[in-house]
């Protein structure tokens, strides 16, 4: 291995880490502002997790329901997030999402159309109106391909594929670079840069049952935390209600909410449509309470209220968990999701082609004939790096972030469809913020000692004589999180998890990766343990502190929402003695926004302005 002076150095004005939707959108904006932009992607370009997004991108275009407008989208988002969202972010998101979607069309995206030729929109959980622009059930692929094909023609963007970022480098407290390695050669690389935008997604791989791919190891959380940034709201981890449960090898793979949006219903092993028993008072006025009314809604009756299967994800995931616990689950520990009896086969194949394909190929189930077996799967991090809403800058000067790796926008629970719009809006804003920041600066300097420390840490697992298997350690971690930090939590379990995480941290410090540095997944697995463990510990500590149940965070020892906890966010920061957790008061919302969030629907309908 080379010494510090021989490490390859690449210079950019801005480096974007992560090439999913948020990273690509951020890079496009930086390039548009004239910045030399490096786009660091862990996999090949176009393979990032955005490609898995299925149902659609939420934006109040009003193409299908003309009454819809940004205020109702904002209100839905705040209610879905249990009012813990950052108010300004939720406002920016709802206001800018339509333009960001139209911009994709300008760049060649081909969304499904309405009969009059406009972008079509579908229903989804928690959204009052059909609001999700979509392409069948492969919307994420359409978005990432559109952004990718647009980005490769921007002169100022250099794409660095199969490159993993490990550490952020600082110059007197401000961002100065990114340290990482090339998967292909195993060579180390140093990016010198004035600003970094993290767009690294969540940390779902800390759980075994997850819809996330191997890439989702909380790299951004780990790097930001080590560099002194704050994390917020990380106790809110979204369990998507419908993941595949059988066969075991596909357990956790996502089944789009679009199945329910297009009419699918949830049944227990008694054939009961159990969601009618789980309608919380807050949503009761807007939810159908009889099968008859729900069926009228499906038939297009606009006076009927929405079926309870379209309640927010936290509500549906908890209901499924309860049904299974009480012995009313399906043979493989889930419940049944039935669209076969609700819609004709050709409708299902046209609107849900990849679900049809996925069940047919992986589970041998024809969803046009038989119900699917589904259960909750760790899907999304509402919490993440704490940033300023308008610039997306963290408290570390020069460190920006966008998309899932940021906290605040989604509050305690995210509505389906609000992640694709989040990554477009805040990817764009992060790009703007970083470009504005970088324009004013001269290139930073990086001292050699910092680089040497990164180098030592990176190559240590290769150089050790012996040590634990990195794959076994990650499995251990997943067992701990599945068992103790799942949908329903309690103090004793969370304390056990913390003790287990301490043990795993010690093990991870001795991990051994056999083989050379050239394309060595064992080494990569060893290196991702650090961000994974930081993420897992942050979630556990925050979950322990929040003594209430709100949104995706359920404490069986503290049931129900508590008013005093609505006034605080849980903040995580690296201290001198390890991880520090604190409560921080939330500022009062601007009056205008509070008025919208608490208004009745009638007061907001048709008030787009």
């Amino acid at each position: 291995m080379a010494d510090v002076s021989e490490i390859q150095t690449i210079e950019h004005d801005v480096v974007v880490v992560g090439a999913g939707g948020a990273g690509l959108r951020a890079a496009i904006e930086c390039a548009a502002q004239g910045m030399s932009t490096g786009l660091v992607c862990k996999s090949l370009l176009g393979k990032a997790h955005t490609v898995m997004a299925e149902g659609g991108v939420a934006a109040a275009l009003g193409n299908v329901a003309p009454k819809d407008n940004w205020k109702i989208h904002f209100r839905d988002t705040m209610r879905g997030g249990k009012f813990l969202n950052n108010w300004r972010m939720a406002e920016l998101h709802a206001k800018h999402a339509p333009d960001r979607v139209r911009e994709l069309e300008q760049w060649g995206a081909v969304f499904d159309r309405t009969p009059s030729g406009l972008i079509s929109q579908r229903n989804f959980g928690g959204h009052r109106y059909p609001r999700l622009a979509h392409v069948g059930d492969r919307t994420g692929l359409e978005i990432i391909r559109t952004l990718q094909d647009h980005a490769v023609h921007q002169r100022n963007i250099v794409v660095h594929m199969e490159c993993t970022a490990l550490d952020l480098l600082l110059d007197g407290g401000r961002i100065a670079g990114v340290f990482g390695y090339w998967r292909e050669s195993g060579r180390l690389v140093l990016f010198k840069t004035k600003a970094v935008i993290l767009a690294t997604g969540g940390a779902g791989r800390a759980w075994r049952i997850t819809s996330n791919s191997w890439e989702y190891t909380g790299d951004g959380y780990g790097m930001a935390y080590e560099a002194g940034a704050e994390l917020m709201d990380v106790e809110f981890t979204q369990f998507h209600p419908t993941g595949m449960v059988w066969p075991p090898s596909v357990r956790g793979i996502l089944v789009t909410e679009g199945v329910r949006g297009d009419g699918g219903i949830l049944l227990n092993n008694k054939g009961e449509r159990f969601m009618f028993s789980y309608i919380p008072p807050k949503f009761a006025p807007e939810t159908a309470d009889t099968v008859e009314e729900a069926d009228r809604w499906l038939g297009g009756d606009t006076t009927a209220r929405r079926p309870p299967e379209l309640l927010t994800r936290d509500e549906v995931a908890r209901a499924i968990t309860k049904e299974v616990q009480d012995g009313r689950g399906s043979p493989h520990g889930g419940v049944f999701l039935d669209i076969a009896s609700r819609r004709p086969a050709d409708f299902i194949r046209r609107k849900l082609p990849s679900m049809y394909h996925q069940f047919k190929e992986l589970a041998g189930v024809d969803i046009t004939k038989d119900p699917m077996e589904v259960g909750p799967t760790l899907h999304y991090f509402m919490g993440g790096i704490r940033v300023d809403a308008d610039t997306q800058q963290s408290i570390v000067p020069g460190l920006f972030a966008g998309g899932e790796c940021v906290g605040g926008m989604q509050g305690a629970n995210r509505l389906g469809g609000n992640s694709l719009s989040d990554l477009l809006v805040f990817g764009w804003l992060a790009g703007k913020g970083a470009a504005d920041y970088a324009k004013k600066l001269s290139p930073p300097t990086i001292d050699a000692a910092q680089i040497e420390a990164c180098r030592q840490r990176a190559i240590a697992p290769l150089n050790r004589e012996a040590g634990p298997n990195p794959y076994s350690l990650q499995e251990d971690l997943q067992t701990v999180m599945d068992r103790y930090v799942n949908i329903v939590r309690n103090e004793a379990d969370l304390q056990t998890a913390l003790a287990e995480l301490e043990r795993l941290k010690k093990e991870a410090a001795r991990v051994k990766a056999p083989g050379s540095s050239q394309y060595n997944p064992g080494w990569h697995e060893a290196l991702c343990l650090r961000p994974l463990l930081i993420s897992a510990e942050a979630v556990t500590r925050a979950a322990l502190m929040r003594q209430e149940s709100r949104g995706a965070h359920t404490r069986i020892d503290y049931p129900g929402e508590r008013d005093d906890w609505a006034k605080v966010n849980v903040i995580i920061k690296k201290g001198t003695d390890g991880m520090e957790v604190r409560k921080e008061s939330r500022p009062d919302p601007p009056q205008e926004l509070a008025a919208i969030a608490y208004a009745t629907l009638e007061e907001l309908e048709g008030t787009n302005g």
Binding site: R102, W107, V135, V250, P521
Partner: protein
């Protein structure tokens, strides 16, 4: 659970060979599950690309018992119970290590394709396209860039004419632009001269291996070939151009 025999190609650009692994296989597993189990338990540094494990990202293309496939969508119960499974890297692109190949050539081709050029919006700020007019390009846009079509294309695989032909993946990318109702660019000359539409001899091997069942040849490549023929080899059009000049773009749009 049953024990199965896997032969996995191990090596790098300087050479390599098959290594045999005995591995326990559970119900419902796909080939990628088995590869990852070998990696976790027996060969920590076994290199393989994968991401979504659900046939949506196109990362895990390999040749399984000689057939180009996505490892994540190939179920173990499609093989005979005693059958040895052989897994090797795709042949058309150079090996980096084990099952991972250097597919960067494909990304270079994508950059060469003239980008989407939209016409102006309607007066009310909308674009209007009928669903029936976009169905066919939505088919092309299902492509997950697994490059299995590139792997089996004779022009690329057997004749290594990467200098003459962009391959089926990028022919359908060109088709998705050429048939886009909003697009104004003219790529027909480039499709003939730079991207090599004439090189394809329509054996349809690409269509056969497409995991998204895109009608690559029938719906994408053949219509592009027809547009090239109409432009360059239609005697009436040729005469019209001679008389009136080539200023106006011929009606190649959807």
């Amino acid at each position: 659970m049953a024990e199965r025999t896997f032969r996995v190609w191990r090596g790098n650009k300087t050479g390599g060979d098959f290594t045999e692994y005995r591995v326990d296989v559970d119900e419902g597993m796909v080939v990628l599950d088995v590869i990852l189990r070998i990696q976790a338990q027996q060969a920590n540094d076994l290199a393989v690309r994968w991401n979504c494990k659900a046939g949506k990202c196109g990362s895990c293309s390999t040749e399984i018992n000689g057939k180009p496939k996505l490892a994540c969508m190939t179920r173990m119960n499609t093989f005979d119970p005693q059958e040895t499974i052989t897994v090797q890297p795709v042949r058309t692109f150079p090996v980096i290590k084990d099952l991972v190949t250097d597919v960067s050539w494909n990304f270079e081709q994508n950059k060469r394709i003239p980008p989407f050029q939209p016409k102006p919006r309607d007066a009310d700020g909308h674009y209007r396209m009928m669903q029936s007019d976009v169905d066919r390009i939505q088919e092309f846009r299902k492509c997950i860039e697994c490059y299995l079509c590139q792997d089996v294309c004779h022009v690329l695989r057997d004749h290594n004419r990467k200098d003459k032909f962009v391959g089926p993946r990028f022919m359908i990318r060109l088709a998705s632009l050429e048939m886009h109702p909003l697009d104004c660019a003219d790529r027909i000359p480039a499709i003939r001269d730079e991207f090599g539409s004439g090189m394809c001899n329509i054996t349809k091997c690409c269509t056969d291996v497409c995991p998204e069942n895109i009608g690559i040849t029938d719906n994408g490549i053949i219509p592009l070939k027809e547009r090239v023929v109409d432009r360059y080899y239609d005697p009436v059009a040729w005469l019209m151009r001679k008389i009136f000049g080539a200023g106006e773009k011929p009606g190649t749009k959807a």
